[in-house]
């Protein structure tokens, strides 16, 4: 028997390491180490319910496992074959426990291609990867296909870049393969995942590093490169560790390095660490950073395929893009192209987060609707609140609303709806979210992460943020809304790189979808979600106030005046909206406006 325990960052943070230790201890105590084995795997995706433990072969799926549960799991399940009922997932709609992930709503609509091995294998053991077809595609390419045939296969599959741009991968490889033939070329894996709340690439690298290495080698074979580089953020220590282990193991068995499988093809991979600058996800900035220069984008052309790392032809792909390559080679382009929508083939991994019941990592076929993702996979809005918006594409994307819920998710429809695919962040908002504040939040991120090279992004985004701040503080005017729209449009039109060109999207999309909220903030000085602190007013209803003085005594800034047994009054000019009075009042006399 195998006890799979998630060793991804999410579950590790919820204590899976202690669970693993305790399970091992219990197995030893019961002399079961020959019979059952604890396998530390990559992410299962259902991070909300971590740590996750899965028992193979019966596929029992335990959630929120604590170290003290190890004893019961071993004694009951492993020894006696009885499932530990209290650790099973309980479906919120039926209130019945579900023992097998296959029957959980969270997994039902998912199609796991990129994530195929995450949660199934021990990422630190190359044999487990090989047992699930790891490096079979590389072997097939090296011995049965020419580079051009591989490129044709990728082109036929319709795979598009998963980093956000959606550029056809096969075409990218073809351009790189034809560029400066015979010269030194590089294959770069962009693992500089930076969208707030997104962790697709991290989970992939932690859960299945070999598929990325394999795909990079295939890419090297296609474009004529013997050197791969993975640009990964230094904040991903576990992913870095797993990659280091994987590279070493692959080199030891001859799947990387010189003369791979006796084919005469050489390919080595090294890691480069990023310092966590969001803009380094942009390929030219990434290349400059790898060269030891300031991580800032430069004008294209020249494209990396013409002049990239160290001025040599370079092909840059995102982690998730690479993760799809071996499967396409193994199962064929036609199979891959049969999944997804007309112009977006295959699947997409999303990091589902926000006000949603099932927070986690999901992989869904392109063309699935937002409604299916949010209400079926995601299990609906937390606390039964009303859905308000969903943000896709991270800080570069836009907020989509109720009317977009039946939009099929693919590259083109999302752009048409005013957002974008991005790298896969998906954040759900409910009625308690203020859309002006949301726009401000994302812009705050871009302002922080702008490299500062071009004026519109360096100064323009800062000014956008200042106007938004003014609005959320109740000082906005209708002129500000005009300026906001003009400025956002100009920034989109004039910024140098993808970061700047998309940074106004959250502003523009919330302005077009939630215009009323903007106007309310400006004309009525009102935030309907109650999120804008400065717009809140705490008011004492004189009819309900008993004059107990509790509020006045608790107020930290002495904003409340009144005499005993007489109604009190809050001086709005002094009030700091801390809400202490509201909590102290026993008579419900204080309301928030």
């Amino acid at each position: 028997m195998h006890i799979l325990v998630c060793g991804g960052t999410g579950c590790s943070a919820s204590g899976s390491r202690e669970v693993i230790a305790q399970l091992n201890k219990e197995l030893e105590a019961h002399n079961l180490t020959d019979f059952a084995r604890v396998v530390v795997t990559g992410c299962f995706g259902f991070c909300e319910r971590g740590p996750i433990v899965k028992i193979i072969p019966d596929n029992t799926f335990y959630t929120k496992v604590k170290p003290e549960d190890a004893k019961e799991i071993v004694e009951e399940h492993i020894i006696k074959g009885r499932k530990v009922q209290r650790l099973l997932y309980v479906a919120p709609d039926t209130n019945k426990s579900v023992s097998d992930s296959k029957h959980m709503e969270f997994y039902k609509k998912q199609v796991r291609i990129a994530l195929r091995n995450c949660g199934f294998i021990d990422p630190e053991n190359i044999d487990e990867s090989i047992a699930r077809d790891g490096y079979a595609a590389l072997g097939k390419c090296l011995f049965e296909m020419t580079p051009q045939q591989v490129i044709e296969e990728i082109k036929k599959s319709g795979l598009r870049g998963r980093g956000g741009g959606g550029f056809p991968t096969g075409l990218k490889w073809e351009i790189a393969s034809k560029s400066r033939v015979g010269e030194k070329k590089y294959v770069v894996c962009n693992a500089d995942e930076g969208d707030p709340g997104a962790f697709m690439d991290r989970s992939l690298l932690e859960g299945d590093p070999h598929s990325i290495l394999e795909a990079m080698a295939i890419c090297g074979y296609c474009i004529g490169s013997d050197h791969g580089l993975i640009y990964i953020r230094a904040e991903y220590p576990l992913a870095i560790h797993r990659l280091q282990v994987a590279i070493k193991q692959a080199e030891e068995v001859g799947l990387l390095g010189q003369d791979i499988l006796g084919s005469g093809f050489n390919f080595t991979i090294e890691l480069r660490y990023g310092a966590g600058a969001f803009v380094c996800g942009e390929e030219t900035a990434l290349i400059h950073s790898m060269e030891g220069h300031r991580g800032e984008p430069t004008f294209k052309p020249p494209f990396p395929a013409q002049s990239g790392y160290l001025k040599q032809p370079t092909n840059v792909n995102n982690v998730e893009t690479f993760a799809n390559i071996p499967v396409i080679i193994n199962k064929g382009a036609d199979w891959f192209a049969s999944i997804g929508s007309e112009k977006s083939k295959g699947t997409k991994v999303f990091a589902l987060a926000g006000k949603i019941n099932n927070v986690g990592l999901i992989e869904v076929p392109m063309g699935i609707t937002l409604r299916e993702i949010i209400y079926e996979i995601g299990g609906g809005i937390k606390g039964g609140k009303k859905f308000k918006a969903v943000q896709t594409g991270g800080p570069s994307g836009g907020c989509l609303t109720e009317k977009h819920l039946d939009t099929p998710v693919d590259y083109d429809t999302l752009i048409a709806a005013g957002s974008m695919m991005g790298s896969g962040g998906m954040i759900v908002m409910d009625e308690d979210d203020c859309m002006v504040s949301i726009a401000k939040f994302y812009l705050g991120f871009t302002v922080e992460e702008s490299c500062g090279k071009c004026t519109p992004c360096r100064v323009g985004n800062k000014r956008l943020l200042e106007i938004l701040t003014k609005i959320t503080e109740g000082k906005g005017t209708m002129q500000d809304l005009d300026d906001l729209r003009n400025l956002a449009t100009v920034i989109k039109d004039t910024a140098l790189c993808g970061l700047g060109q998309t940074s106004p999207n959250p502003v523009l999309s919330t302005m077009s979808n939630f215009w009323d909220e903007y106007v309310e903030h400006v004309t009525e000085k009102k935030c309907r979600a109650g999120q804008c602190k400065a717009l809140k007013q705490y008011i004492i209803d004189p009819a309900l106030c008993k004059g107990c003085t509790a509020c006045a005594r608790a107020c930290p800034v002495s904003a409340i005046s009144g005499t005993v047994k007489n109604p009190h009054v809050i001086d709005q000019s002094k009030c700091i909206k801390c809400g202490t009075c509201y909590e102290k009042c026993k008579f419900g006399a204080i309301s928030i406006k």
């Binding site: 004008f299 090279k453 800062k462 989109k492 140098l496 060109q501």
Partner: protein, 591 residues
Amino acid sequence: MANIKLTIDNKVVEVPQGTTILKAARQMGIEIPTLCNFELEGLALKNHPGGCRVCMVEVAGRRNLAPACVTECMPDMVVKTNSLRAINARRTVLELMLSDHPNDCLQCAKSGKCELQTLAARMGIREIPYKGEQSSYKIQVSPSIVRDMSKCIMCRRCESVCYEYQSVGAIGAVDRGFPAVVSTAFDRNLLDTSCVFCGQCVAVCPVGALTENDHTGRLIKDLNNPDKVTVVQVAPAVRVALGEEFGMEPGSIVTGKLAAALKALGFDYVFDTDWGADATIMEEGHELLDRLTKYLAGDKNVKIPLMTSCCPAWVNFYEKHYPHLSGYPSSAKSPQQMFGALAKTYFADKINTKREDMICVSVMPCIAKKYEVERDEFKTNGNPDVDYSISTRELARLIKLCNIDFDALEPVDFDSPLGESTGAAVIFGATGGVMEAAVRTAYAVLTDGKLPKIDFQEIRGLEGIREATVHVKDGLDLRLAIVYGLANARKMLEMIDKGECPYHAIEVMACPGGCIDGAGQPYHHGDASIVRARWEATYKADRDMPIRMSHENPSIQTTYKEFLGAPLSEKAHHLLHTHYFDKKTKIESVK
């Protein structure tokens, strides 16, 4: 390369493939505004980051606007430079830039010469709708350069010049987003960085963020002090550029007016650095002959090539970057310092003045000279040989301040004796000039005075690296290299370091084309024709001189006879030669 046709503002134009929209439009007389874009064509100085975004134009079929400065023309492209969308975008970008720029044009050192100010006027900016936080940085002062980064617009010209053209890399962009700014490492004073004070960052800065350390106030005080004897020397390149400040054509030679203006300002003695340049040739030329003789005799210890040492930024460069090679440059002081050393000894004795009572000022095309005068080794008991140095621009400001009508001045001669000079000294102002002057004298000495020619065309030019072989006599071909730009100088030093240098002598100047485009000269704003005009004027001034070889300067001959003895004599060594320091170790140890 094939030509392509495209349409700009409804007119068809044909340009070679690879031409940018900016250049294609310029060819048609359409001037698209730019700020960060900068190129001193043919003189190696350039900056094309495509970062400021004030040159945005509309290209049909393109999702967003295109930066004209870096977007290449494509066949059948349809470009609109004056559509509402493009104009609104350019204006908004400029407003954004201005929203983070101090509104202090009236007291800004760059007022009237500022490219941002000019652009704001041209675009008709009447208000800045976007108000908010403004970047604020402490003003940093070094002997040559004042950095007021609150005014920086992040065009990065200074960074490109420092890193690419000079290979110095003392300044670069730091921080990100709104606080991004060009700075030194850890915001250190330039003195504690690899900066060589060439000042080319100042020469290319479009705004008032980088300016020279101004000494005009100090000079007015000294000129009005009856207890001081004021002596001024003027560098060769000043006379071919100063006229520009008074509306004259670039390349106007204003030597006589310049001397008249200095007299009108009230200097007691108006002398010429050219006299110091002739002295430099006497010393440096003889040092070359000395080293060469030993080298040809098989001496393995002698340092060949001899490198020139007139350029103070170049001196700083090898002290800060290649101290282990500082045996190659000549030990001769620069003309400015030779002049100062002799002014405060030889000349001070002549007029019975104590050095403490003499104020020796230099007018230079250069701002590295401001650093050079402050060197401790150029002081006697704390009193500097040259008290301070002002730039061509500062002199122009002073002339205007003192109500002198430059145009109406009657030309006069420099005073005697430190004002007499030769054509060989004038060409010190252009790249190759020092080498040519040295060759004229060396040639004359080596061939016993039989000089078949005086113009060495093979040494002249405006390419960054030039090689020349001068046949002196049978068995002696002088192999020479002339470079400007410290990245080129670095190539020479690397060659020497590897023992692969084929030259006998190398001239190095830090600035494009030599001192004529020094950082103290009138701003050229990227117009290379101005630099070329100064270059041509320099050689014309040489041709117009009656004496064209340094060793034939009668005043210099007298000085040796009366005071110094012979070139390389003990006294000459004491007064006219210097030594170099390892400043690399010093900078690296700054905490």
